[in-house]
Amino acid sequence: MAETIELRDIEVWDGNMAASQALRQVQVDVVAAYPITPSTPIVENYANFEANGYVDGEFVMVESEHAAMSGCIGASAAGGRVATATSSQGFALMVETLYSASGMRLPIILNVANRALGAPLNVNGDHSDMYLGRDSGWIQLDAYNPQHVYDLNFIAFKVAEDHDVRLPAMVHQDGFMTSHTAQGVHTMTDEVGYGFVGEFQPMNDMLDLDHPVTHGVQTEEDWHFEHKARQQHALMTVALPKIEAAFDAFEKLTGRRYNLVETHQMEDAEIAVICMGSSVETAMEVVNELRAQGIKAGVVGIRVFRPWPLEQLAQVLKNVKAIGALDRSSPHGSVGMLFNEVAGTLFNTDAKPVLTNYIYGLGGRDLTKAHLVGIFNDLKANMDAGKPTTPLQQYIGLRGPKLSFF
C-alpha cells in the first residue's frame, strides 16, 4: 500500500508539481517517460514519489518519446491506469503513437507543457505542440494556471477512463509560464483526490486471460471507416457531456467550477478576445481595467480544445460585435486555428461579428497587458466601423516593422 502525503490546504506549486501530485494521488499504475524541457519535472517528481513508496506503480525509463507513448499504449492495453508527460519535439515524435492510442481507445493521460517547435531550437512556451495534436483523436483540456493543471488531471482521468468514452486525454499547460510558475494551489487530500477518480476499471484488457482480445488490428477499407466513425461519434456525442458531468461533480467536491468555454464579462460584451493558456487570465485582468473605463470588453477562454465546443462557443459569442482570435502558434501559410474555428463556429449563425486574427507569443515572447490593450483598441475600431480596420492577421510583440497579412 502506498504511503500518503499530508498536503497543506494551499501548497505553492508550479504547474509541473501540480501535475505530478495529481498523478500520485490517482495512483497511476504505469508511467513510461522520456524527459524533455519544460515537462521533465512532471515525470521526475513522479519517479521520486514512486521510488520513495508514495505510489504503487511502475516507472519505465524508455529511449524516446515514441517509445514512451508506445509503452503507455502497451500498459494501457494490458489494463492499467497510465500516464506520461512531454513537450515540443518530444510531442512531435509521439504523434504517430498518439493516433494509435486514440484509435485503440486507450484512456491514457498525457500532460503537455506546451513549448515551441524548432527550428530554431527554443525551450520556451507556445502552443505549436498543442495545435499539432488537434486531429489526433485525443481529448484536449487546457489549463491557465497551476491550480487548473492539478484539477484538470483528475477530471481527465475520470472522463477518459469512463467506459462510454474510452479515449485518451491531454492536459495542456503553458511551458514555463505555467509549468515553472509557482502559485498557490488548493489541494485535495490523497483520499479525496483518489476517490474522485476511483479505482481503475479495465475494459477489454489483455491481461484478462479468460476473455482474450486483440488490440491494434488491421482493417483496410472494409472496416477502417466504421472504426474511425465510432471514435468520432464517441468524441462528438459522449465526451462533451461526460466532461460537463465531471466538471459538475468536481465543483460539488471542491467548489471550483470549470466550463467547456470559459467566459469573463461576456454577458454584455461588445468586443472580445478568444485565446488559450495563461493569456486568458492576463486578458481577464486587462478587461477588468477596460471595464473601469466603461469599455464593454470580454474574454473567452477555450477550456476544452478537442472536442471543439462549437455550440457552446456560438452561444457565448452571439451578441459580440468584434472578436480578436489570438493564436500562440504560427499557422504557416494561413490564418490561425482559432480564427478558423471561430469563423466556422459562427458562419451559419445570425451573429456576424468582425473577426480578426492575432499571432502572438511565439517561442515564449511575452504577451503584455499593453499588447492586449492595443488589441482591444483595434476591436473597438472594428466594431465602430462594422468592418476590419486592420489586416485580418497581425503579428503582436514582434520586433522590427509591423507584419500583417490578408
Binding site: 503553458d174 510558475t181 502559485q183 498557490g184 493569456s279 485582468e285 511575452d366 497587458k369 499593453a370
Partner: protein, 185 residues
Amino acid sequence: MLEIRWHSRAGQGAVTGAKGLADVVSTTGKHVQAFAFYGSAKRGAAMTAYNRVDDQVIMNHEKFMAPDYVLVIDPALVYVADFTAFEKPDTVYIITTHLSTEELVASQPKLQGKKVYTVDCIKISQETIGKAIPNTPMLGALMKVSGMYEMDFFKENMIRVLKKLPQKIIDANMIAIQRAYDEVK
C-alpha cells in the same frame, strides 16, 4: 501588488529563493507568483526571477514587470545586466557586493539617487553554508529592508521550505539569513 525582480546567475538559487519566498508569503493568506526567465539555462548565465504578491488572486501572467524591489545576488551583474529596467521612482535595490553602498553607487552611476542597500551575500553564504549560494541570505536582507515579516516567523517557515535538506545545511541557512538581516546597510 508587490513585485520583486531577482538578478542572478543560473545556479545561484534565484529560482529557489523566489519560490521559497512565495511559499512563506502564501502561508499568510496572500496570493503569490514566482517565476523565472531561463533562456538557454547554462550554469553561470545571467538570468532573472520574479515574485508577485497580492491580496487578490494574481491573474497577470505577463513577464513584464516594473518592480518594487530589485534583488541582485551576483556582484558583477550591476555592471553587465540591465538591472534598472522598468524601474519606478521608488524602486528599492538590494545588491550583493563587497563594496559599501557609497562605493557601489560611485562605481555604478545608474544607482545615483536611488534607494540602494548592500549586503555581501556571497561572503555570508561562503562562510556559513560553505558555498556561494546567495539566495537565502538575500531573503534575510529583504526581510530587514522591507519589514515584510518578523524574523522568527520567517525563519520558522524557511525551515519548513528547506526541510528536505540535511539539518546541518538548514542550520547554516538560518545563520546566513540572520547575518544578512543584521549586516544589510
